[in-house]
Symmetry: D2
Subunit: 409 residues, 4 copies
């Protein structure tokens, strides 16, 4: 009997071709948990501003895995010992690093499964898959958790210069059409090296790293924290919150069983039941619910749901200072009158929030540059960039309100 | 009061920037019917083979509108009279040319609203929008229908070299990553001219047209008629057919109201009711149903639905000759035994069909080349291409069957 | 003592990075014969029409070598045995395949060293380098000459799908900006295979090959045989011929010693003396001479030389039929009167010639497609292309004449 | 009689197509002074490190002119008054801004025509062309000189964000293959605006400007000041200096008449004679001389000339501190012994120099950002970049020496 050829080539608009390097990688891609990522967009609501940004987490995971194979090849060519087993494990770990993402997780990460991060969910799902695969993912899980003795392998999966970031920055800029965000992943990977078991960048790569950091900054302000995207994401949080409230009040709120499971369980839920429901969720559960809810009798639910679906988003103001409470109350009162809703309903259509680039913090670890056999931090190696700025958490206050009252703001 | 600036610029991964040329175009984009196109993918199931191909009809419509503005500019520069009103109407017509597409319309065009083409639906919806817009779409509708006296304007909207085709070939090759399918829309547009009120191509563009035809052919065989894509599309048709049957039999089959409307009405339905339900349909209705159905007690429904969702597609054989009836019966019998299903159920898992590139027929009209003041058909102008082949309908027979019985085929 | 690192990476605008795969390749690149290729443009006079087309044969040779490393990798991955020694030899052979090109060899191949092709000169120079390199090029020379038993290795160097062609088509289209000529070298290389010791293309590559053939055709007619380029090339031939005549008549014609050697030796010269002088020639010898000659007292020499330098090229007419002798005589007479030159001088400013795409013949060998274990020719495998047209020699008659008499043609 | 169509389209690898917008621009391109730019490479010796970087100043001038037409279109669309005459003049001025460049002017600017900058030469040549064109270049010359009352038009020609810079950064990165240097000229141009008669950038363009500055910095250190390029350029200066010395000593040094004119006139020469000779110079004069000189009996002349031609460049050390005089003397002594040359000859093979990025100073004027109706400098607008670093002159000391003594350094 002929064995199935699993060394497939996948077409990818970003890199041209992606080779599936190991047959276990092929099998993991076929797993329904991984296939689910086809139905979860990488950038959620961003598509409402950048129509091209409809790429899925499925593509991103493949892309990051592709970069991993390139990085491992470069590091091996430079004389760093990496066994075939380690290479395979690194590919698996990066392939599955985002498997715990739920729908619209930019916005909803802490709203669907409260108190559980997507990294924790990824780990739980990897462990489950591991048992299905006779523990063949053991080393991959160790790498993912940073428990393996070769630290640089973990850094390829999770660090300032990990393959996740290199892929998503490049892919997101590609699909949004914000071509200035494009990162030369090729060039950065060619300049990776290992020094004292740490992933470092060769000295001549310093300008490329400067450019990487600037491109990333550009993507944050032009894409990830674009105010219209923020508006849509905050509305999504509000609408789910409203649904949760209505359910708690005993009202009928239609949605898929899996989503209902999470909306009707307000406390953090764990265990197999939760995980099972979680793996059934994807973007269509949300969109489908929004379409249903746009016809709901609850005015807040239907307003928000319809507004997202038809892209009649709340207006946004962004400022450094927090918004004045009195002004907020005044606006709510006007909304209440103009739109014929109660005071408490107005609170869900006129609200403030605080966003920071924390979610994408670049402060946690460092990019090390290798100069004459010593490593120094990019902040020291580069005299050009203001690294205080790069690492600083920028906090902005947001005020959202319906178009209907925009004359009063 | 400040007027809203409607001359927006949209980022597009294919063309970089798209300018919204007229304020009515901006208003049409904001219409919920047009926003619906965000939720309908251009290539439906193709994403199961080409993971990048998740682009929406929304993007495509914007892209085709962009090419229209370029084409009009070129034609005007060459001295052809086009009024501002005509230019605007041409932009509107191309923007809305696909507004009548439903979910997965590659596969489902005649399956959801039976007997009504997407062009007819587009026209119905345009007329409805027209009345909302105080008849400002009148000229656009005339152009769309080919009723306007300047024939070339209609040809920019619908012909062998229309802006629809130029955009979708380029966009589809871009997002699939099949870079060889890329068509130089820039170059072809630069070579457009009007002669005797017909859209023609200047003589020096002949090689570009040859390349366009070859690229198109490549896209058909490598993408549009890729056998795995065909398998998924045929499965989708089967699963909807099965749902329809079960509903007719009085069984409970959950899905959205809008979809249920079409599944429970077997005869062609028309009128406002139909149109209203149609405008509520998008890809998520289908995907959501498939997810529900994959848990259904009907074995055929759940098998097909689950198989699409988890990409465990039916195996496919393609051949020129029709498949032997006896072989088909034999395979169905094996399936029935192996999978513990009835004979009639086996018919929906083991089946044959016929596909042809008719759907994308290139025979209907011609590409005219302008040589020394006369126009001749590309088939004559080019000694290179075999135009019998280009215009011939290629018919292929398909056999689909479950993996479970692949050892017996 | 530290050994020099010869595994360099070269930046290339077409492919991004080119790795130098073997240290002998590095040493060959450093050889003055190879460095000479920096001063020989790939497309000679083409730059007068396509200003970007100033790329050198140096780049092309590196690019072809790069594709060779990719092709060998692909073939090895598919299980074809290729030793390290063979791989290195194939890289050397393709690197040096054009080393025998002289300046403007598109036009001048048979005019500088009459009766000796650039392939013969390449071989002579390879042999000379071989003796300098202690016979380390022996296998490369065997491959180059087609004397090695693994025929497919020669075909990678010289055949319808050799790495030379794949690089030059892609590179020429890149630098001319004729983006439609772009060939997907990546994709074609991925589809190469060896069957019965012959280089073949996998069946699924058939559309890519069709597109390759069409793109090549487009490049021929839009670039290589562009009539303005032809005019400049024919003028170059005429001006050298004129210089040769004047030298033969004993007049003083300044130019570099190396060029003078060839202009004053009318019969085919061979041996080391010729080779030494040949290796001193490059584009600057020609350009420098043209600049000098544009001040020469001989009216034909100065007219033609100045016209090339300042891009005041002869006008061109192209037609299938040969030009009428009487018309030619008439035009010469007018030129003689208008420009105050003798009848014989007029013959060098008003002349006809015949060009054919022979120089780039695609008839000599075949592209084989591997279908179900058998190879068939692309002409049979593809029902689409008219292969008679592809393989046919197209002959065109050219009439060149000075702008000064263009009112009389 | 049919008028010649001068609204040509030129293919350009960087922008695709370049339209010739005015017929006078066409005529200027045909002028022999402008055609001369075909024979002057934009980046001189850089091609020895980046083989693709053989693009000419001709292309760059066309490219900058193309960007000018785009910028003018954008500014007009935003409501800034620009007459057709001004638009034409701006195109002419940018087209001719580099017409005063001589061969290898990166290196040789002050060495061929000492004491005269290329801007002065450009002005002299423009004035000469102006009189040939019946003063039709008058306004263009005013713009070029900054004498016109609309200051922003001059800033499009010469400022921190002029079309010259936008084109050369993009073009140089394109041809070197240093893709990270790519500047989004499209995007920056879209964000240009005029405020108080000054060219400014809209607030939302701030991240693009940051990226522009970083990309520029990257190009400086990776390309323009690459140490191997510096080595070749310094050698070129030395070899011309040596030729000048030998000529002054009465020795025979062959080269073209035009070059001899400059080498034999040590003091600054002006007037028509100089200008005439200058317009005859191009890169081939230098390369041709180097080839001749590589056979010269003077050991320094032939060593340096041959070394450039065959790319056997002097070794380079770069450091912040100036080199120790004793070390220098020691090395010269060793060179003198090892290479059998005199002490004074050794001074031209072992030498130090100082380079700074002054030549490309970014300090002279500012980039203004328009925020809420006020302009502030980018240094204030961006909290990210260290503008002291950007504007600081970086000075480096260079030591060059022959490979032959590299063991002793």
């Amino acid at each position: 009997m002929k064995t199935q050829n699993k060394k497939k080539i996948v077409n990818d608009p970003v890199y041209g071709f992606i080779n599936i390097p190991h047959s276990i990688v092929f099998d993991l891609i076929e797993h329904s948990y991984f296939q689910r990522l086809r139905r979860i967009r990488q950038l959620g609501m961003t598509e409402l501003v950048y129509p091209g940004a409809v790429h899925s987490r499925f593509q991103h995971a493949l892309g990051a895995m592709h970069l991993m194979t390139l990085a491992i090849e470069v590091l091996k060519q430079k004389g760093n010992a990496i066994t075939d087993e380690e290479a395979e494990a690194a590919c698996i770990a990066i392939l599955l690093h985002d498997i715990g993402h739920g729908p619209f997780s930019h916005a909803l990460e802490s709203n669907i499964v409260s108190g559980v991060s997507h990294e924790q969910l990824s780990l739980l799902l990897m462990q489950q898959i591991n048992s299905e695969f006779n523990n063949k993912l053991q080393l991959a899980i160790e790498l993912f958790r940073g428990k393996y003795h070769k630290k640089f392998l973990h850094q390829l999966i999770s660090s300032q210069l990990d393959m996740d970031r290199l892929d998503y920055l490049r892919r997101d800029s590609f699909f949004t059409g914000v071509s200035e965000g494009v990162v030369s992943s090729d060039r950065i990977i060619k300049m990776l090296e290992v020094h004292n078991d740490e992933l470092v960048v060769e000295a001549k790569g310093i300008y490329s790293i400067e450019k990487f950091l600037i491109a990333r900054r550009l993507m944050y302000w032009q894409v990830y924290l674009h105010k219209t995207v923020l508006s849509a994401e905050l509305m999504l949080i509000q609408v789910l919150q409203r649904a949760r409230t209505l359910i708690a009040e005993g009202l009928i709120v239609n949605c898929s069983d899996a989503l209902y499971y999470f909306l009707s369980n307000s406390i953090a839920v764990k265990g197999n039941d939760m995980l099972l429901n979680f793996t059934r969720l994807d973007d269509t559960d949300i969109i489908h619910s929004l379409k249903l809810w746009s016809q709901h009798s609850d005015i807040v639910l239907s307003y928000l749901a319809g507004a997202i679906i038809n892209r009649r988003l709340l207006k946004v103001q962004l400022q450094k200072e927090s918004f004045d409470t009195e002004q907020l109350e005044r606006l709510r009162k006007i909304a209440s009158e103009k739109m014929n809703i109660s005071a408490s309903e107005a609170q869900q259509l006129v609200f403030t929030d605080v966003v920071s680039n924390n979610a994408y913090s670049y402060a946690d670890d460092q990019i090390h540059i290798l100069i004459h056999g010593k490593t120094i931090d990019i902040a020291q190696a580069s005299d050009m960039l203001n690294h205080q700025v790069l690492s600083k958490t920028v906090t902005k206050n947001i005020l959202c309100y319906p178009k209907e009252i925009s004359g009063f703001v």
